[in-house]
C-alpha cells in the first residue's frame, strides 16, 4: 500500500497568507484533519502542514482570535516530504522518526500534491483499526506518552 491510497489530494492546499477561517473551511468541506501549506498558488513547493490541533493550540489556547490570523501564524513547518508512491510503511517510519502526525506529499518535480496523516493511514488501511489499536495500546506506558507529548 502506498501514500497515494490514503493521502488527501491537494485540492485544498493553502498558502501562509490564507486566513485561518478559509483554512478551517477547507478542513470542514473536505473533511480533512490537516491541509498542506504551499509557497504560493504558482509555486506549489510545500512549506508545511496546518491541522485542527495547530489552530486550537496556537490561536485559541493563546487567547488570540483566529479570525484575525493567517495560516502562517499557526502552521507547522516541515522539512520532511514523501511522494505518492512512497509506501505507507516508509511513511509511518518517517512520522515516527520525526515525531509528526502529518506530512506533505510531493510529485517528482517537488510540487505539493497532497497531505497524509498517520490517522488516515491507520483508519483507511483497516476497517477494524480501533480494536486492533486498543489491543496494541499497552505497548506504551503513560510515562512514554508524556515524554512524547513533551517532545
Amino acid at each position: 500500500m502506498r501514500v497515494q491510497d490514503v493521502m488527501w489530494k491537494c485540492s485544498a492546499c493553502c498558502t501562509p497568507d490564507t486566513n485561518l477561517q478559509d483554512a478551517a473551511r477547507m478542513m470542514s468541506e473536505h473533511e480533512q484533519n490537516a491541509v498542506a501549506v504551499i509557497e504560493s498558488r504558482e509555486i506549489a513547493r510545500p512549506l508545511g502542514v496546518i491541522s485542527h490541533n495547530d489552530i486550537v493550540r496556537r490561536a485559541v489556547a493563546s487567547g488570540k482570535n483566529p479570525l484575525e490570523m493567517t495560516v502562517g501564524d499557526c502552521m507547522s513547518l516541515s522539512g520532511v516530504l514523501v511522494t505518492a508512491s512512497t509506501t505507507v510503511e516508509k511513511c509511518g517510519d518517517l512520522m515516527e522518526q520525526h515525531q509528526v502526525d502529518s506530512l506533505a506529499v510531493v510529485d517528482e518535480m517537488g510540487s505539493c500534491v497532497g497531505v497524509v496523516t498517520g490517522m488516515d493511514i491507520v483508519l483507511k488501511a483497516s476497517s477494524d483499526a480501533p480494536g486492533r489499536l486498543l489491543k496494541r495500546a499497552p505497548v506504551a506506558s503513560r510515562d512514554q506518552m508524556t515524554d512524547l507529548y513533551a517532545g
Binding site: Q21, A61, G92, P130, G131, A137, P138, M145, L148
Partner: protein, 156 residues
C-alpha cells in the same frame, strides 16, 4: 484486560459554560484533542464531548470567534461511554459501531473517570505501534490482493 488498564485516568473535564479559550488551554496542558463535557464539577456525569475539530469546523469555519463562545456552543451533545470494566475488544466494538475515535470511561455512578482515545493511542502513545500496525495492515492487504481470483478483475 479492560479499559481501566489503558485509559487516561482522571481526564480534564469542562462544563457547558466553560469558555472555549479555557477548553483549548486544557487541550494543550493535558495533551489531548478531546475534553469530556460534564454536568457540573460536583456531578461529573458526561453530557457531551468537545474536540479540537469541533472548535475549528463548527465555529472558526463559520466565522465565529471561539474566544467569545463556551463549550456548549461547539460540543457534540451526546457522549458515548463505556464502563470501567469493559473489555478492550468490546470497547473497540463500541468505537466502531459509533464511528468515534474517543470514548469516555465512567464508574458505577456514571461519573467520568477516564478516556480511551484511538487517535492518542495510534499517533501519540506509541509511534512504534503505528509503524507496526501499518506494516501489518499493508502485508495483509498485499496478501488479500494476491488471493483475489483472476475473475475478480471483471467485477471491478
Amino acid at each position: 484486560m479492560t479499559v481501566q488498564d489503558i485509559m487516561a485516568k482522571s481526564p480534564a473535564v469542562c462544563t457547558p459554560d466553560t469558555p472555549l479559550s479555557e477548553v483549548a488551554r486544557m487541550m494543550v496542558d493535558h495533551d489531548c484533542g478531546a475534553i469530556p463535557v460534564v454536568e457540573s464539577r460536583e456531578a461529573p456525569r458526561p453530557v457531551g464531548v468537545i474536540t479540537d475539530r469541533d472548535i475549528v469546523v463548527r465555529l472558526i469555519a463559520d466565522g465565529q470567534n471561539p474566544l467569545e463562545k463556551t463549550a456548549a456552543d461547539a460540543m457534540s451533545a451526546s457522549a458515548v461511554t463505556v464502563s470501567v470494566g469493559t473489555s478492550l475488544e468490546a470497547c473497540g466494538d463500541v468505537m466502531e459501531q459509533n464511528q468515534i475515535r474517543r470514548v469516555i470511561v465512567v464508574d458505577d455512578n456514571g461519573s467520568v473517570i477516564g478516556m480511551v482515545s484511538q487517535a492518542d493511542i495510534a499517533l501519540n502513545a506509541s509511534p512504534q505501534a503505528v509503524a507496526e500496525m501499518v506494516r501489518e495492515v499493508s502485508e495483509e492487504e498485499d496478501a488479500n490482493n494476491e488471493r483475489v481470483p483472476m475473475g475478480g478483475a471483471y467485477s471491478g
